[in-house]
């Protein structure tokens, strides 16, 4: 039984080490996921922290500036809207009218500076059938 104990201790050490890694990893990368309304409601408290926001790209709101790889657009969710600025290569599936998730920070001027744009899958891979 003494041997058994040794292995148990080994297992516990691995478990604790993994748990510790998970905890610190979680601390550094947990990101709140908001709707536009939720984001705007919390304005003060989350200014400057990394969050994800989901919304629909408003038609005709997309402006691109190839010289600086900058893109400006607005995402909407019902009556709520949020202007977004993004710099970088845009996913192929991005276009007006689709649902996107933007990750980044809300600046003081009310503009959301996105560092990542996540588009949902190509629509033909799986059209949304439910409501």
């Amino acid at each position: 039984m003494v041997k058994h104990k040794k292995f148990l201790i080994g297992g516990i050490i691995i478990f604790l080490a993994t748990g510790y890694l998970a905890y610190t990893g979680f601390q550094s990368s947990a990101t709140y996921y908001y709707t536009i309304n939720e984001l705007l409601a919390q304005k003060g408290s989350i200014q400057g922290s990394n969050v994800r926001v989901t919304g629909q790209v408003a038609g005709d709101s997309v402006q691109t500036e190839p010289a600086t790889l900058t893109m400006k657009f607005t995402i909407i969710d019902g009556p709520a809207s949020l202007p977004v600025v993004y710099k970088g290569a845009v996913p192929d599936t991005f276009k007006a009218g689709i649902d996107v998730v933007v990750e980044g920070r809300l600046e003081n001027d009310g503009v959301f500076r996105a560092s990542v744009i996540l588009t949902k899958c190509p629509s033909r891979y799986e059209p949304v059938k439910s409501s």
Binding site: F7, I14, G25, T31, L69, G88, D92, P122, Y125, E126
Partner: protein
């Protein structure tokens, strides 16, 4: 014609339910009635008929079927017409049911030398799973649903999906998921009948097959994501990617730990738990891919399937766990781990680490759903979480490969072990020193590369010394020794090859995650951008029609060390029928690094927006993937000697 497909599915459902009941009736006796076996064959035949009808409809553009109209068009080439079978939800579920029926027939119909008395219960379980999928298809996603009017053309496949990846990646992953049903069924049959080890032989074969499919599917998926912009690199820890990785890791743990049960009668409960876990992870994977409960890059829709899957997962997890508890007395281990320096102990560690990493990935994947349920806010964990947590865990697993290979079975002679370890450690230290001299200072990467060198040396050293031992005892020479060695013990050397593949892939992953550099710029023709040792000059942009698409192509010449080394042409396509561009990345690949050039946009005045990325060592990942698949095939391939394991593994 289409209604025949639906009717065949209904008949298949009836036959599968009958088959499950009839097989259960023969379960205690250990022999199945003719009716039970016949109905299993009937299920296989009927689902095949449905599948071929759908395939025929896809190929002949029968747009009356909503499914055909949604995923294909007249201009789609034949391979993609076939791939439309798994492009959509309804078709992929039919594909699931069909493959399971085929696997069932292959696994249970031929005469087997061991585990014959397990077949009835195992068949009953497989048929129950089949029935579940048939109910799911008929209730929520019948691919034979017809449109009120026949459209002139279908909507076609998203041009982003027109890639060889679409033909190989989904079916490979699905086959991997589905294959795990068979070992699960045999394990549960053994548990019901209280029979010890007979289930291990068929289980090993099918887990290995599934592992091979899952591994291939994941690697092809990673490659596809890498060459096709928009999926964000070769691995993004997306829920759907994680869903494919978790059962693969569990399967890896499983076929390591069953070696202990077969040789030493250990880990009995653990092995049964593992296979239940692997099967549930496979179903969970199908569920994630198909239900859209978690936001993913891949797919959305079909929330009507949620209650079906939740019920199924509940039964298929807690049912076996309860059974395991009831049967716990008969599952006492025959021996205990003897020493810390034994292979048994290193296998135990390997299992803990692999399952630990599964737990972490699972936690990270479902966390948004949990936090939303508990606190009402959705919190996602990013890639950093997975990299930070699973990086060290998987690296430790890699280290263990090296240690384990050198240790051998049971307690090794300490002196021999110390000598081998010393050499391998020296190889690791030497690598670290060389990297340091070449100016690499990221300690994490240096340590990781040192571990890779340690493991690679360990495996190759062990292989070479076994080669030499055979040379001494058998007097064979040269290549022949090597060949004979591998031929006579394929599982072992296939395993060695897979271990080498893991190191090679790890080198690629470490290199590309620690040393990537990127730069973006808007350039006018003639302007350059310098990144690392490359200078890229944007020469011209050209636009024009090519078939059914409009192509924009930038020509960029690459100069390195004062010499022109090539011209790359990143492109963007615009398909006529799709309002969506397809960005074709230009990749200039060398063993040391990939130059990855993206045309991110352009302006009327000729300005082109370029994004240039240097991804070091990425080609090692694909090379490692190739070695992994060959190693798996060598380990899996049925041998000439009478091997119960190879039974039914055509």
């Amino acid at each position: 014609m289409a209604s025949v497909g639906s009717v065949a599915l209904i008949l298949a459902l009836i036959a599968s339910v009958y088959s499950a009941i009839a097989h259960t009736a023969g379960g205690r006796r250990g022999t199945a009635s003719a009716g039970a076996r016949l109905s299993l064959v009937a299920v296989c035949g009927l689902v095949s008929v449905s599948t071929f009808i759908l395939l025929f409809a896809l190929i002949t553009h029968n747009f009356r079927l909503e499914y055909v109209a949604s995923y294909t068009s007249r201009s789609l080439p034949l391979p993609y017409l076939i791939s439309a079978l798994w492009a959509g939800n309804d078709g992929s579920l039919l594909f699931w049911a069909w493959l399971l029926a085929v696997f069932a027939a292959i696994a249970v119909l031929p005469k087997r030398t061991t585990g014959r008395e397990l077949v009835p219960y195992a068949s009953a379980i497989i048929m129950a799973v089949e029935a579940f999928f048939l109910i799911l298809i008929l209730a929520t996603s019948n691919p034979f649903a017809e449109l009120p009017a026949v459209p002139a053309d279908g909507r076609g496949l998203n041009p982003l999906l027109e890639n060889i990846g679409m033909i190989l990646h989904p079916p490979a992953l699905l086959a991997g998921y589905i294959g795990l049903t068979i070992p699960f069924a045999f394990a549960i049959a053994a548990l019901i009948r209280q029979e010890g080890t007979d289930w291990l032989a068929p289980a090993r074969t099918w887990v290995l097959l599934s592992w091979l499919f899952l591994g291939t599917g994941n690697i092809i998926g990673a490659w596809w994501a890498y060459v096709e912009l928009g999926w964000g690199g070769y691995w993004a820890w997306d829920p759907v990617e994680n869903a494919g990785l978790m059962p693969w890791l569990a399967a890896t743990a499983f076929f390591h730990s069953i070696m202990m049960q077969r040789r030493r009668g250990m880990f009995k409960v653990w092995n049964l738990t593992l296979i239940v876990l692997a099967f549930n992870l496979a179903i969970f994977g199908t569920f994630l891919t198909r239900s859209g409960v978690l936001s993913s890059l891949h797919t959305f829709g079909e929330s009507s399937m949620v209650p079906f899957f939740v019920t199924f997962l509940f039964v298929s997890f807690f049912g076996p766990m309860a059974l395991l508890y009831l049967r716990r007395r008969g599952l006492k281990d025959e021996t205990e781990v003897e020493s810390l320096a034994s292979r048994e102990f290193s296998f135990q560690l390997n299992n803990l680490l692999l399952i630990g990493s599964v737990a972490v990935i699972f936690f990270g994947t479902v966390f948004p759903a949990i936090s939303e349920a508990v606190r009402g806010v959705k919190i996602e964990v990013g890639r950093a979480f997975f990299n930070q947590v699973d990086g060290p865990v998987l690296l430790a697993t890699l280290l263990l490969i090296g240690v384990c290979t050198l240790i051998g079975w049971r307690v090794s002679s300490t002196r021999e072990l110390a000598r081998k370890l010393l050499y391998a450690l020296a190889a690791g230290a030497a690598t670290a020193a060389v990297l340091f001299v070449f100016g690499i200072r990221q300690w994490y990467a240096v340590a990781a590369f040192a571990i890779c060198a340690f493991v690679l040396f360990g495996v190759i050293y062990q292989w070479a010394s076994e080669n030499m031992a055979r040379q001494r005892t058998r007097g064979e020479k040269g290549v022949r020794v090597f060949w004979e060695l591998v031929r006579t013990n394929r599982p072992r050397y296939g395993g060695y090859l897979v271990h080498i593949a893991m190191v090679v892939m790890a080198i690629g992953v470490i290199g590309s995650s620690a040393f990537t550099t990127e730069k973006e710029a808007g350039l006018k023709p003639g302007q350059s951008i310098t990144i690392d040792k490359y200078t890229l000059t944007y020469d011209t942009i050209s636009m024009g029609d090519a078939g059914d698409k409009f192509v924009v192509r930038a020509a960029v010449s690459v100069v390195s060390g004062g010499k022109l080394i090539g011209v790359v042409t990143p492109e963007m396509y615009f398909h006529r029928s799709f309002e969506q561009p397809v960005t074709e990345v230009a990749i200039r690949s060398t063993p040391l690094e990939d130059l990855y050039v993206i045309l991110a946009g352009w302006d009327r005045d000729g300005t082109a927006a370029l994004k240039v990325v240097i991804n070091p060592l990425v080609s090692w990942i694909w090379a490692g993937g190739g070695i992994l698949i060959s190693g798996g095939l060598i380990a899996f391939w049925p041998g000439r000697r009478k091997d119960p394991d190879s039974n039914g593994a055509a």
